[in-house]
């Protein structure tokens, strides 16, 4: 395979503590190697005057599956005037907040992202998720099956059967080719089947008589007993409601007393996603305010938690979540079209378009909260940048968020342009924060941090020899004076992107569709006849498909990258 040497760039690599020193990065057979290990035939990429980082890792985005596709189906207006015709190396691509699979791959790659995780896979529709993942070029992907409202989990955890829960998780990860244990509005989505919700962690789930508190702690216990690469990944109860920060703190506190057990170097036992939607004060939209400080003060001192921000980008977007009751609440607020699906024994989903307008006070406050979380983070290795794509905005806005985080001037300009800037400033902390994140901290929040949280720090998020050759060169000189807009421009279209040793982007244009892989976790457990019988029984009694038509067989995952865990004892 080809050899490369990326020369003279300003390198930012948190895994080796390199903070902008000039260094050469050598590549051989798809891996990063020591500069001495490549021959004189290695192709030289000149990165002088430019920034070099590892490929970025997306920890939470809704980019593949039935929910995303229903968004595409029912929002043709999202595609209007967005299509780009095919080129020599890329296919026709379009869409804004819910881009086509092709555009998803191309746009992530152009920004220097080389790995992305689909954040909510309904197991029953896992085949659809994998069909879309297969059609998303370049980037490595995995998907998190949802467990927080699953009848098996609810029944096992009600009876405190952790070992059975582990066996079921192991079975479902393999059946759905899933990566991690995702929890969305634990208990609340099941309650939605009765037209109800769980708005605190002690609201009982109808029929099952279990609480979100028991679901979350039970799943953390099972996740650590299995030693999975990622921790439990939670979308908490009471998302998007004024005053919900107390529920957020209650949930985060559930991680206290647990210790991460795994062979992947992961330290957290709970990842709390799109924290922006969970850091709200006030008791109505009239006195709505930021509680980012209260939430981040806790996150900063509690080392076994990681979070991502869910930054609002001030765009017209499409909200979509397995939090069915929340989407109904949203359509009642904005009167825009609503789609809702119940997924049998497993989950549900809702979709509603949403406009985060810079002329609406609540949206302005939401914008501030998302940024405050990142700016208040004491450990950038535990707080990651996301937009919960497409819920708070499309992932294509990451360069703009990086600009806001790296430039107090850019934030000031945005605050001044808001219609209700004085009221917004009163309800938030943003105006008083002068912190400007460094490129090193950005590399922690978008590369090394999420890779470590996912248990993938041995291959992603850094530039140390032995890691995958996922390398990005941005046309940005950290030693020269620059305007805030230069940051956004540089991160929007990388000068050069390499994915596992293959150049995929040159000067912001796609040059190859790469060789994308699907990550999934095979967790081996002791044989468990009871769980196998329960599964057979549920398929016969309740599912609309047979078990034989449920598994994601290997042809759906043509280029797998399997991470194995042995939890037998």
């Amino acid at each position: 395979m080809a050899e490369y040497i990326i020369k003279n760039g300003f390198v930012f690599d948190p895994t080796q503590g390199i903070k902008g020193d000039k260094a050469d990065i050598a590549v051989k057979d798809g891996k990063i190697v020591k500069s001495t290990e490549v021959s004189s035939k290695a192709k030289t990429i000149d990165a002088s005057g430019k920034t070099v980082m590892a490929g970025a890792v997306e920890i939470h985005a809704h980019i593949a599956g039935p929910k995303v596709n229903e968004g595409r189906n029912y929002r043709p207006e999202d595609k209007l005037f967005t299509y780009r015709p095919k080129s020599a190396s890329s296919r026709m691509a379009g869409g804004f907040s819910i881009p086509t699979t092709f555009k998803t791959g191309y746009e992530y790659a152009r920004m220097g992202y080389t790995t992305a995780m689909e954040a909510a896979m309904p197991p029953l529709y896992a085949r659809h998720v994998h069909e879309e993942i297969k059609d998303t070029p370049i980037i490595d992907e995995g998907a998190y099956p949802v467990f927080g409202n699953n009848w098996f989990v609810l029944e096992y955890l009600k009876n405190k059967e952790i070992e059975n829960t582990c066996a079921y998780i192991s079975w479902l990860l393999e059946a759905s080719k899933g990566y991690a244990v995702k929890v969305v509005n634990p208990g609340g989505t099941e309650a939605w089947g009765w037209g109800l919700n769980c708005l605190t962690i002690d609201d009982p789930v109808p029929y099952f008589d279990i609480t979100p508190r028991e679901i979350v702690t039970g799943l953390i216990e099972a996740n650590e007993a299995l030693g999975l690469p990622h921790s439990v990944h939670i979308h908490q109860n009471s998302l998007g409601n004024p005053g919900n920060y107390t529920v957020t703190l209650d949930t985060l506190k559930l991680a206290e007393g647990f210790k991460a057990k795994n062979k992947f170097g992961r330290e957290q036992v709970l990842h709390s996603t799109h924290l922006q939607f969970h850091s709200y004060g006030g008791d109505s939209w009239a006195n709505f305010e930021s509680k980012s400080k209260e939430v981040m003060d806790y996150v900063n001192k509690q080392k076994n938690i990681t979070v991502d921000t869910g930054c609002v980008t001030l765009d017209e977007t499409t909200t979509m979540t397995a939090d069915g009751p929340f989407e109904h609440h949203l359509t009642e607020l904005n009167h825009l079209k609503w789609a809702n699906v119940d997924v049998e024994l497993e989950t549900a989903a809702g979709i509603v378009p949403y406009i985060y307008s810079p002329d609406i006070k609540v949206c302005e406050i939401q914008w501030a909260i998302g940024l405050e979380l990142a700016l208040m983070a004491k450990d950038p290795m535990r707080c990651f940048i996301t937009t919960d794509h497409p819920n708070a905005g499309p992932f294509t806005r990451y360069p703009r968020i990086i600009k806001w985080l790296m430039s107090a001037e850019a934030r000031k300009k945005q605050i001044e342009s808001f219609k209700h800037s004085a009221k917004m400033v009163e309800a938030t902390h943003i105006a008083g924060i002068d912190r400007e994140l460094s490129l090193y901290e950005i590399a922690q929040m978008t590369r090394a941090g999420p890779a470590k949280s996912l248990g993938l720090s041995h291959q992603y998020g850094g530039l140390a020899p032995g890691m995958d050759a996922d390398i990005v060169v941005y046309d940005f000189n950290p030693e020269k004076p620059h305007k805030p807009e230069d940051i956004e421009k540089a991160f929007s279209a990388a000068a050069y992107v390499m994915k596992t040793g293959v150049p995929v982007v040159i000067n912001g244009e796609i040059v190859s569709n790469g060789n994308k892989r699907t990550l999934w976790v095979k967790a081996k457990v002791n044989e468990n006849p009871q769980v196998m019988r329960d599964i057979r029984d549920k398929f016969l009694r309740y599912y609309s498909v047979t078990q034989a038509n449920y598994d994601v067989s290997s042809h759906f995952v043509p280029n797998p990258h399997v991470i194995e865990v042995d939890a037998t004892h």
Binding site: E77, P85, K337
Partner: protein, 266 residues
């Protein structure tokens, strides 16, 4: 005002997507530059010059530019799309999406227009001397933001689904319309001077619909309120006012529930 005359000389085999036929795009350009503006025939990108003979040149701005489109344009879509000022005169009958997302200026079609004419229109004046197709002044597929401003006047008949998701502006049809008038309408005014067979104002939240002729089947969600004299298109007349669609949500303004208004001429 400068005039550019474009005359169809080579008919496209497929339909031609010619959204560059607009005063905004022609302004400041010579005939040769206008000929080089792109269009799509099927999936192939081509130029206007391949199909049209172009005479004259654009004015300094869109407002100073007038376009006359001559010849058979029955296979040409998107004439006058997003135009913000100036004038376009089409002598015959163009295909779909004429005047789509128009923002200002004046667009006159001597013949008839096909479907989706004036969709998402924000401003300006759009006159059709013949008939209009379906989805006149409607919203784009999936969108909830239909016509928001401006005036569409059709001297002949219109098809179905006119003013779908209309939010503002005026549509006047001198002849008859087909079914589904002002579905999901939230504002603006639709005037049908002939008949409207059925499904008038379905799921209407606000706005006004006037029908001078007959409605064969009224929607069940409308209730008679009173007779009212209203000035419509420059003349006063007496109408029976109905409120609706009562099956739909309705906002309150100053303590009063706002209904869609359907006026039937007495």
């Amino acid at each position: 005002m400068e005039t550019v005359t474009i005359t169809m000389k080579n008919q496209p085999k497929l339909y031609l997507e010619a959204d560059n036929i607009s005063p905004d795009k022609f302004a400041g350009k010579k005939a040769s530059e206008i000929a080089a503006l792109h269009a799509y025939e099927g999936r192939e990108q081509t130029t206007l010059g391949k199909y049209f003979e172009i005479a004259g040149e654009g004015g300094a701005t869109a407002a100073d530019t007038r376009i006359v489109v001559k010849g058979d344009v029955s296979r040409v879509k998107y004439i006058g799309m997003k135009m913000s000022a100036g004038e376009v005169l089409v002598e015959q009958s163009p295909d779909m999406y004429t005047g789509a997302w128009m923002q200002g200026g004046k667009l006159i079609v001597k013949g008839s227009v096909d479907s989706f004419a004036g969709i998402g229109m924000k401003g300006g004046e759009f006159l059709v001397e013949g008939n209009a197709g379906d989805y006149l002044g409607a919203a784009y597929r999936g969108d909830w933001r239909g016509m928001q401003g401006g005036l569409i006047r059709v001297k002949g008949n219109a098809g179905s689904d006119i003013g779908y998701f209309m939010n503002g502006g005026t549509i006047i049809v001198h002849g008859n319309s087909d079914v589904h008038v002002g579905t999901h309408m939230e504002g603006g005014r639709i005037i049908v001077k002939g008949n409207a067979p059925s499904k008038v104002g379905g799921q209407m939240v606000g706005g006004e619909i006037f029908v001078y002729g007959t409605i064969d089947v009224m929607m069940p969600g409308f209730k008679y309120v009173q007779d009212e004299e209203v000035e419509v298109d420059g003349e006063k007349a007496l109408f029976a006012l109905y409120h609706g669609d009562t099956g739909e949500r309705h906002p309150k303004r100053k303590g009063q529930i706002v209904y869609g208004k359907l006026y039937l001429k007495i």
